[in-house]
Symmetry: C2
Subunit: 418 residues, 2 copies
Amino acid sequence: MAKNAFYAQSGGVTSVINASACGVIETARANAGKIGTVYAGRNGIIGALTEDLIDTSKESDADIAALRHTPAGAFGSCRYKMKSLEDNRREYERLIEVFKAHDIGYFFYNGGGDSADTCHKVSQISESLGFPIQAIHVPKTVDNDLPITDNCPGFGSVAKYIAVSTREASFDVNSMALTSTKVFVLEVMGRHAGWIAAAGGLAADADNDIPVIIIFPEVPFEQEKFLAAVKAKVDSHGYCTVVVSEGAHWQDGTFLADQGTRDAFGHAQLGGAAPVVANMVKDAHGYKFHWAVADYLQRAARHLASKTDVDQAYALGKAGVEMALAGENAIMPTVVRTSDAPYAWEIGKAPLADVANVEKMMPKEFISEDGFGITEACRTYLLPLIGGEDYPPYKDGMPVFVTLKNVAVDKKLPEFKM
Amino acid sequence: MAKNAFYAQSGGVTSVINASACGVIETARANAGKIGTVYAGRNGIIGALTEDLIDTSKESDADIAALRHTPAGAFGSCRYKMKSLEDNRREYERLIEVFKAHDIGYFFYNGGGDSADTCHKVSQISESLGFPIQAIHVPKTVDNDLPITDNCPGFGSVAKYIAVSTREASFDVNSMALTSTKVFVLEVMGRHAGWIAAAGGLAADADNDIPVIIIFPEVPFEQEKFLAAVKAKVDSHGYCTVVVSEGAHWQDGTFLADQGTRDAFGHAQLGGAAPVVANMVKDAHGYKFHWAVADYLQRAARHLASKTDVDQAYALGKAGVEMALAGENAIMPTVVRTSDAPYAWEIGKAPLADVANVEKMMPKEFISEDGFGITEACRTYLLPLIGGEDYPPYKDGMPVFVTLKNVAVDKKLPEFKM
């Protein structure tokens, strides 16, 4: 009898994580004799721990297909990092119990670095407990910080959104700069790595002479140097666009966004890096400014997803199931780049032991010498990842996203206190 | 000999104002025997005052056609409100001088309320000075506050961007709410009128049960009532999305964004309404929050323009030229809605005397009784305006926008001190 599968979404969601879910479920359905029902965890791994499973077989083929163009996590995700096996053996044992109770032999975990680690541990404990679970990690993270794989699904679409938005806003500012805004600041995600900020650099190219300054989390902020760079751009182009990472920080590690200001009640005044940078420019040069904080808009923007990203997200979910059926365990399917231009890629795989707890940072050679821009090497890396458009269907002017029924599976085990 | 035309873009640019420019120039080219060269003002009306004219005949047909999908102001715009005729006769007389020097008989002014007023005055003074100028105002404003016309080009695309972004971000928050963000706050434009904020209400519909709370500038902010409404949404849906207008204000008129906080140097701490509202919710209920400020991204977002908006922007530019050729003066072509569903519209016209200095506010019956949502009447009004998609062409993953040559016309007059 074919074993069932468990699928869960982990951590911050993206505009294409459901495309991976689609790849997993459609591929399982296409192999109905070899793999049973795909159960999804409601709200990620918490659904497994609490035995709150969703029966995806209750969803129509059309609704599963619609996952491909629906952003966010259709089954719910969670921020819940399982502790180490030593500190928290109880939770890992509970997972195995739940898998046993529902005859689950495959564990597909769709997430970033932490979930790769959890996935790896599940595979290890299943062996030691004598209940075989094939654990496959399907990569996902807008932070693009997983090792080995060419890139991480979710990142390409955020990069496209930031690149396009930076170009559009720059056209706007350019046309108004004589009498109005001269400096526009856009704050983007990426607390530890500047991959997303780097995408702002794609706004400019041979046909678009756009003055973009990027503040990377990799480069400790030097105020005087930055202010001089802004002035040089305004002098040469009439305006300047600044893309600042939320993780931009001073030499001592303090975030730019953390100003230590207090409101009337003495509460810490939370702001973003963008208004801080914008006010800094105003104080120094008197330029009129505007600022935006893209926040969730960037990672939810399915309306502007990269086709490459959607294709890869789906392909990695599909490959995960195929690898499981081929007997693989404790691995992550990866994207292997075989050519930059034209972009070509194929599916590879990495042992989870090599993935867990390794963060891929931006190479130094991707940041220009002055610290405020991207190099040609970076452009060559990034450009294919934003390639192609993959628009969702629209009805009455609005994108049509699916909301699944998410029917619960009957529980078989006693309650588990988390 | 056919008279030349002058065209200028005025005030804050939009993602479709160039579509109006395209309509003006293409229609003028199609009537080459009856209308001469279209000169554009570099940086709007300032280009007329300084005799800094752009010869649009130097642009290829392909480049002019590309204006239809290029955001912002291709000739430059400006924030420059001409004073009243009494206070500033000199500037109006200078305009006429420049028009005379370049044999200009048509004045197409593409802007909002202020420019309608200027346009009207130019028509009046041309009469009194005995140099005939037909002055036509082509409407444009994301604020949607011009009277008589069904809507204003620029607004529909911003509305679509806000509606789509609100839906996408809500899907994101919904899928994470159990362990992470429960309240997402999106700040949108519209200092005086809540038209743009209202568009956030379109995120929810019969197929998408999304808990949206809107903070309108039309409704003085009541903190306790707002906090109770947020709690009710989080209790019922697990999360809540707040769309707050930058013009949201307290009973006494103070903007929510104005907190009177100071940084370490005693400078006013400029923030947005979004972080203020988000922190308020956190303080009262302890919910984890995220916030975004869309700022220029919303009005520059040509990648998500409404087809209706693009079509109308073009049609109004075209109609402006046709009306001028038919001998009209001191008028604004308008959109006349003839049916809600299916949406049908035709071109009408309004005398500038009826347009200038009249602001169209949101009708009271468009805001729900609790003050935090939109009514069915509002939905019926808004939905057609975001209808249809009109994607720009892409190359290598990025939208292809045109940058014109903008060749200057030789000056014939002495310099004018502004």
